[in-house]
Amino acid sequence: MQGLSCPSCTAPVVSRPESSPASCARCGAKFHFDDYGTYVPLFAPCKVTVEEATENVMEWASGVKGGREFSRHIELAKMTRRYFPVFVFGTLRDGRKGTVVASATASPEPGIRNIDFSHVEMHALDEATLGDGEVMCPSLGPGAYTKLLSVDPTTRTVVYYPFWCTQYVYKGRLNTVTVDGCSGRVSGDLSVEIERRSSMPFAAAAFAVIGAEGALALINWIFAAAVVAATAGYAIYHARRHRGD
């Protein structure tokens, strides 16, 4: 491990601190450290209220096919605000700078790695300003992703990012939903089952109508053929529309 230096004033840290966070002997700034160096963790303030988060979840559930009815019947558990630590790795590929986001916890919650930082204001972490949200502790070091995501762990920034978390039960399964605390984007498992009615009545009607249209040959057989073709075309369109596609 390389020598540590203060991320604020770059003064060398003479002896490895016993615990994180530590304070710089020269400028007094607080910093954290791991096997890859020192860093100042950042946090993104939560801009979405709990009411907005709940509304977003309902809109998200209604937005899928068959979801309107579904969203009327689901009951959400209480929304809790959590700050998840994430690594933001800087990458350089083909001369272009980019970022890769990875979670600093092994939580399988949806959406906590799918963060767009382009419009997010970040500030140095001060736990007093986080309010009553739950702060998740990192359980991984940046080295966990070196091989898996082809990133350089020394380029990492640690950001505590807010999410609203809730759960609901559907078809006997517990589903977790998260709402991005900055953008309001919703992520979670959503599998709406659309009730399928039997297609037999429609097929029988199509059979009877087309069979009867043969009588139109009395007027003109070309006209009769055209009407049969149009009816058949409509039947195919109807079938494709209702097969749950």
Partner: protein, 298 residues
């Protein structure tokens, strides 16, 4: 052999003999030791053989066939991340005696290798289908994304004993039948198995698929309501039958009632009627309850 590993110094293969926690690299002599958890169980960490792009590709190959054509175009992968799943492996022994249906006292000895997922939501995330020790990469570090171990060593013992009791009861009956069985657990190993979780969005919602990080197979069943292709076949049958009847009707009206016209009408009606009756008969036979299987005898 429990496992092999790459030497931390020179990369040569290091073989760990079963129950021997220490091994030396045959190339450079560096000593390696298997990590253990607080209960003394060995910890085997399996390397992730798949990269992120491979996992996404496999997820698409698995999900696309389940969707109809128009839903495929709306299939979007929203998130892909690696995870290690802690799974307990242990051998459970049941020894004792049981009473046969004839009243004879017979000895009982059963062994089962058990795989018990130690993480939450195992039914949703899935469990690795096969874990064998020969390809694990032993890492002295614990720095990889691993799910929280919900079932510790004491809960493992309870769970393994419960499963073994059920198995013994299915074969030889329970204590109420006068059986006396002792269950013991041996050689617990905590395998940390790699997987990728791929979350994707379709027209009907969002879902997550777990991809085995070694074999690339799916570890869970994605709850997607598949397209009802039966509607198309039923409609096609109705159209063919209807057109046959229409031709017969046209002929009858234009040329008067005669054999060909009547024949077409009857053929069309018969095709539609008989095919649908057969379909209904097959469907009701599939839905009828199956007879219960016999209990296995010793």
């Amino acid at each position: 052999m429990i496992s092999k590993s790459g030497c931390m110094e020179c990369g040569a293969p290091v073989l760990f003999e079963e129950f021997s926690p220490v091994a030396s690299c045959p190339s450079c002599g560096t000593a390696h030791r298997l990590p253990r958890d607080s209960s003394g169980a060995w910890i085997l960490t399996y390397s992730n053989e798949l990269q992120m792009d491979d996992a996404r590709e496999r997820a698409m190959e698995i999900v696309e066939p389940k969707l109809g054509r128009s839903r495929r175009s709306r299939l979007e992968i929203v998130e892909t991340f690696p995870i290690h799943l802690p799974v307990w492996k242990a051998v459970c022994h049941a020894t004792g005696w049981f009473r046969s249906p004839e009243g004879e006292v017979l000895p009982l000895s059963m062994s089962r290798e058990m795989r018990i997922p130690a993480y939450e939501n195992a039914s949703r995330i899935g469990v690795p289908k096969d874990i064998n020790g020969s390809d694990a990469h032993i890492s002295p570090d614990r720095d990889f994304p691993m799910m929280h171990v919900k079932i510790g060593p004491s809960e493992l013992r309870e769970e393994a004993e419960r499963l073994m009791e059920e198995e013994v009861a299915s074969v030889a009956g329970g204590p109420e039948d006068g059986n006396r069985v002792t269950i013991s657990l041996r050689d617990p190993v905590l395998a940390l198995y790699p997987a990728w979780i791929v979350r994707f969005r379709t027209r009907n919602g969002e879902h997550s698929l777990t991809i085995d990080g070694i074999t690339g197979q799916s570890m869970n069943v994605v709850d997607i309501q598949v397209a009802d292709e039966k509607i198309l076949s039923e409609t096609a049958l109705a159209l063919v039958s209807g057109c046959t009847v229409a031709a017969g009707t046209a002929m009858s009206f234009m040329e008067g009632i005669h054999g060909t016209g009547i024949g077409l009408i009857v053929a069309g009606a018969a095709l539609f009627g008989i095919t649908n009756m057969l379909r209904l008969a097959l469907k009701s036979s599939r839905l009828s309850p199956k007879p219960k299987g016999r209990r296995a005898s010793t």
